[in-house]
């Protein structure tokens, strides 16, 4: 059955926030995230005749993550470093100076994680999906989700300097 317009908008309402949280921790730029979410939904809509509403959310996640991957690759090729520190300050406006510095450190640590592990960690933190759903979206075995998440957390902890309250 073809995708209906109302179903697309309902999916947007459901996924906009988790998608934004996951993609922001990859792209670190608000406008890029907004554009990417928009593009992901438009791509799905363009293929609406072949889209099953039952698997719509998973398809949007897969499309958005692939677009983010392409975007990061494009930045790497063009040696494009986004000026995102200001926008990051917007989000970090509620944090004190120590927290802001810690968040910069966290950002560097997240960037240094392998993309596969970072995807799993961010999806587990923000998507609201369970392990099996994350596995389906990323096209990996369910058991790998848990192991990648564990490894990502361990590496992140090491990169953050193993703080006592961490």
């Amino acid at each position: 059955m073809a995708l209906r317009e109302e179903a697309l908008y309902a999916s947007y309402r459901r996924l906009e926030r988790p998608l934004f949280n996951v993609l922001y921790r990859q792209l670190w730029q608000t406008e890029d995230c907004q554009d990417l979410i928009h593009d992901a939904f438009m791509r799905v809509w363009e293929r609406r005749a072949k889209v099953d509403e039952q698997t719509l959310d998973a398809l949007v996640w897969t499309t958005a993550l692939n677009l983010a991957k392409n975007r990061l690759r494009w930045r790497l090729l063009r040696r494009h470093e986004p000026l995102d520190e200001d926008s990051m300050e917007d989000h970090a406006s509620t944090l004190d100076t120590t927290d802001f510095l810690a968040q910069r450190q966290l950002r560097r640590a997240l960037r240094s994680l392998p993309a596969a592990s970072r995807d799993v960690l961010l999806l587990a933190e923000f998507s609201g999906l369970n392990g099996a759903e994350i596995a389906a979206i990323l096209g990996i075995p369910a058991g790998t989700v848990a192991s990648r998440k564990h490894l990502a957390m361990a590496k992140l902890k090491a990169l953050l300097g193993d703080r006592p309250d961490a």
């Binding site: 926030r17 907004q34 923000f126 309250d165």
Partner: protein, 115 residues
């Protein structure tokens, strides 16, 4: 990791995303139908061009042949070329070195060919 949870707060996306999507979906609905597969359009255009070009190329070749024959009829007598009385001869391509092929056109019932 408590610190991780604190440093990765749940962010609220900027407003207006849904309205933008709705606008774009409606704009897409009123746009003229585009080819879903651009390569199909390119293929069709190429096929049409070939269909037109093939008879044209044939006609051009025939025209060149006629022109050459008319030129010969007008008395083109190159040294060593075949001479035709009351007619003309046109040398055609031959794939064997010891064989020469001529297209001979006469303007009389009995044509005399002399080398």
């Amino acid at each position: 990791m408590r610190e991780l949870e604190r440093l990765l707060p749940d962010l609220v996306p900027p407003t207006g995303g849904l309205a933008r999507l709705q606008r774009q979906v409606h704009q897409a609905a009123v746009k003229p139908v585009r080819f879903r597969h651009p390569w199909l359009a390119v293929g069709l255009a190429t096929a049409c061009a070939l269909l037109l070009a093939l008879p044209l190329a044939d006609q051009l070749a025939q025209h060149r042949r006629t022109e050459a024959l008319l030129e010969a009829l007008r008395g083109n007598t190159e040294p060593g070329a075949i001479q035709v009385t009351h007619g003309a001869a046109l040398e055609l391509a031959s794939d064997r070195a010891n064989v020469r092929i001529y297209l001979v056109q006469s303007d009389l019932p009995n044509t005399a060919v002399r080398r």
